[in-house]
Subunit: 371 residues, 2 copies
C-alpha cells in the first residue's frame, strides 16, 4: 500500500475536505454544507472511508467516478437517499461484468467532492485521491479524461425515488443531452456514475491527490487566524498559493438562468488598499474572468475564487449578496488544462470570452498586489 | 410446432397486415405506408419472418415487444436505420442474462404493427402472433399486461444515430415520463423494447392472434370490391364485424397539440342515407368517442374507425382533411378491456369523457343502421 500508511476519511477530514473543495469549486460546485451533511451521515452510519493514492490502484481495476448532476441548490430540498450508490454500483458492475474496485470524485466543489465519500462509506469501497478537473466546471465533457479520448458513457443515473437508467451514447455531448433531459424529469437532481475507467487510465489522466489538496486547503482556512507569525490574510495567500487580485464590497449581482446554467456578473467596489477601484467577475456556474479597473487579471481555466475577507471561507456564486466583503483570489489550474487540447475544452474562448489564455501568474506580474 | 404449419410473413402478408393494423389503430398508430416500407426493406434484405402462435412459445422463453415511441409522422423525415434492433436485442439479452426467444408487437397500428416484423427479420428471430392492446392507445401503461401487474421496465431505447439507454423505473408512469424526455431529446422518435415477459405471462395476458386478425382485415379491405354477392360496403361491414355508425363528409377538423399528444375533433356532415344529420369524433391520437345527432354511439375502449367510403382504407387522424368522405365504423374491443380493471386504464372517464362505458353493441341497438 504505497507509503504503508492507510489513510482514512472520518468526520474531521470531511470538514476540511468540504471547505477546501468549495474553494477549488471556483464559485461553483454547490453549498459545502449540504455536501458535508450527506458525507457525514454516511460515515456516521457506515464508518470512515479509506483514501487510496492513485499509484496504489492496479492497472486493470475498475474505477468509478460518482457525482450529482443537476442543480446543487435542489439538494437542499430534495435530499439524497441512502440507496442511490447501491443502485449505481449494481448497474455499473453488471454493465462491465466486473466488480467496482473504488469510487472517486469527478470534480472539486462543495457537493461533488462529498458524494463519492458517502458512496464509498455506504458500499464499503475505498475512494481514490484524484478527480477529473482539479476544480469545478459546468459541462460534463470538461474533464481531463476527454483529453485522453475517454468516454463519459456508459453513464448510470438514479434518483432518490429509485428510478434508474444507464446510457450508452455516441459522444459525450449526447450523454450530456440525454442525461440532462432525464435529470430535469426526475426533479432537477440525480446521482450519476460516469467516465468509468481502468486503473491505468486513471494514472495517466486524472488530477492526482486533489482530495489531499482540498483537505490541506480546508486546514489552512480553519487555522490561519491562529498562526503566530504574519496576518491571517498573508498566511492564507501563502499557504493556498493564491494570487490576491482584489478586495471589495459587492455592489451589484446580475444573474440570468439560460440553458440550465447560472450566468452572471458580480461587481465589486474596492475597500482597504483597493479603495476607489472597481472590479467584476463573470460566471457560468463557475467564475470565468476577473477584471480589475478594466484589465483582465485572470481567466478560466485558472481558478477565480471569492473568499470572505475575515474568515477566508469560500463564497459560491449562489451566495453572492450585496454588501458582502470579498477578497478575489486566483489559483493556478492543473497543468494539463494549459495545453492546447485543454484550452480547446475549457479555455476562455470556449466560454465566449474574447481573450487568449494567459497564465494567471503572467497576467498578475504587473497588476498583482503581492503579499 | 402447434398445428404443424410454419407460417411466414413475406411481402404480401406485410401489405395485408399493414392495412388491417391501420384499421385496428382506430385513427392512431401512424401511417401504414411508412411502417410497411421499414418492414418490407428488412424482409427483402433478410428474408421472411416466422409467425409463432402464442401457444407454441415455451413458458420460460424471453419474449420482447418492439415498438417506436414518439411521433410516427417524424419517421417520414428521420427514418429508422437497420441497426436499432441489434442494439435493443443486445441490451435486453444482457440485462436478463438470457437470449431473446422472439419479438412481438405491443399494439396494432400502421407503424407499430410493422416494426417488430423488421426487427424479427433483421435479427433472425420469430415473431409472436399477439400484442398488448388489440388496437392502438396513446400511453405506455395502456396494455393488457398492466392488468397482470407487469412492468414496462426494464425498457431499452435507441435512436437511429446509435445512442441508447435502458431504464429501470419504479412505476410505468415513470417509465413513460423518463423515456418521453429522452425521446424528445433524440429528435422525437426512438425504437424501444418494453414489457419484456415470459412465455407464461404472454399466454395469460396478451391479445392473441392479433397479427392474423390484422392480416385478415387487410385481405377484406383489398377484396370486398371483387366479391360477387352484396355491395362492397355490406361485405366490408360483415367481414370486419363492424358496426356502421355514420357516413359523412368532413366539414371541419380541430386540432390541438398538448403534452405531446394530438387532441382534436372531426365534424362530419351526413351523406347518402345520413343526409341532413351531423356527427363528430373526438380523439387523443386515437379516436375516443363517436357522437351522432348528439347521441354517443361508441366510446373507448371500443374501436372507432374512419374509413374511406369507396376504398374502405382506414383514415388516420393525421390524414383527416376537409371534404373527405368517411364511413364511421365501430369494432368491439378485446374482452379484457371491458372488465373494471380494463376500464380503469382505458375507459372513457380516464380520457376525460363524462360517460360510463356501455359496450358498442348495446349503444348501437337503437341508433345502429344495420346493413
Amino acid at each position: 500500500m504505497g507509503d504503508g500508511i492507510l489513510r482514512k476519511i472520518g468526520l474531521e477530514e470531511i470538514e476540511d475536505i468540504a471547505l477546501g473543495a468549495a474553494l477549488l469549486g471556483a464559485g461553483g460546485g454547490g453549498d459545502p454544507y449540504i455536501g458535508k451533511l450527506v458525507a457525514m451521515g454516511a460515515v456516521r452510519e457506515c464508518g470512515p472511508v479509506t483514501l487510496l493514492d492513485p499509484e496504489e490502484v492496479p492497472d486493470d481495476a475498475l474505477i468509478v467516478p460518482i457525482a450529482m448532476m443537476g442543480a446543487p441548490t435542489i439538494l437542499g430540498e430534495k435530499g439524497i437517499g441512502g440507496n442511490e450508490y447501491r443502485v449505481l454500483y449494481d448497474m455499473v458492475s453488471k454493465f462491465f461484468g466486473k466488480e467496482v474496485y473504488a469510487f472517486m470524485p469527478i470534480e472539486a466543489g462543495g457537493v461533488n467532492s462529498m458524494l463519492p465519500i458517502a458512496a464509498s462509506a455506504r458500499i464499503g469501497l475505498p475512494m481514490v485521491d484524484a478527480d477529473g478537473m482539479g476544480r469545478a466546471f459546468p459541462e460534463l465533457q470538461m474533464v481531463t479524461f476527454t483529453m485522453g479520448g475517454m468516454s463519459a458513457s456508459p453513464m448510470a443515473l438514479t434518483d432518490e425515488k429509485g428510478n434508474s437508467a444507464i446510457f450508452n451514447t455516441i459522444t459525450n455531448k449526447w450523454t450530456e443531452e440525454l442525461a440532462r433531459s432525464v435529470t430535469m424529469s426526475c426533479g432537477g437532481s440525480v446521482s450519476v456514475a460516469l467516465y468509468c475507467m481502468s486503473g491505468a487510465e486513471l494514472k495517466k489522466y486524472a488530477v492526482k491527490n486533489i482530495v489531499t489538496r482540498s483537505q490541506k486547503l480546508g486546514q489552512v482556512i480553519r487555522s490561519v487566524k491562529e498562526m503566530e507569525e504574519g496576518t491571517p490574510e498573508e498566511n492564507f495567500l501563502k499557504l493556498s498559493e493564491g494570487f490576491k487580485l482584489f478586495k471589495g464590497k459587492i455592489g451589484d449581482v446580475l444573474r440570468e438562468t439560460r440553458g440550465a446554467f447560472n450566468f452572471g456578473k458580480v461587481c465589486l467596489e474596492g475597500i482597504g488598499e483597493y479603495k476607489g477601484r472597481q472590479a467584476y467577475v463573470e460566471f457560468q456556474n463557475e467564475n470565468l474572468t476577473a477584471v480589475v479597473d478594466g484589465e483582465i487579471l485572470a481567466t478560466v481555466p485558472d481558478l477565480i475564487c471569492l473568499v470572505d475577507t475575515e474568515t477566508f471561507v469560500p463564497v459560491t456564486t449562489d451566495a453572492l449578496k450585496y454588501g458582502k466583503r470579498i477578497m478575489l483570489v486566483g489559483l493556478k489550474c492543473f497543468e494539463m488544462w494549459r495545453s492546447q487540447a485543454g484550452l480547446d475544452l475549457v479555455g476562455p474562448r470556449y466560454f465566449g470570452c474574447d481573450t487568449d489564455y494567459i497564465p494567471l501568474e503572467e497576467r498578475c506580474k504587473g497588476g498583482r498586489t503581492d503579499v
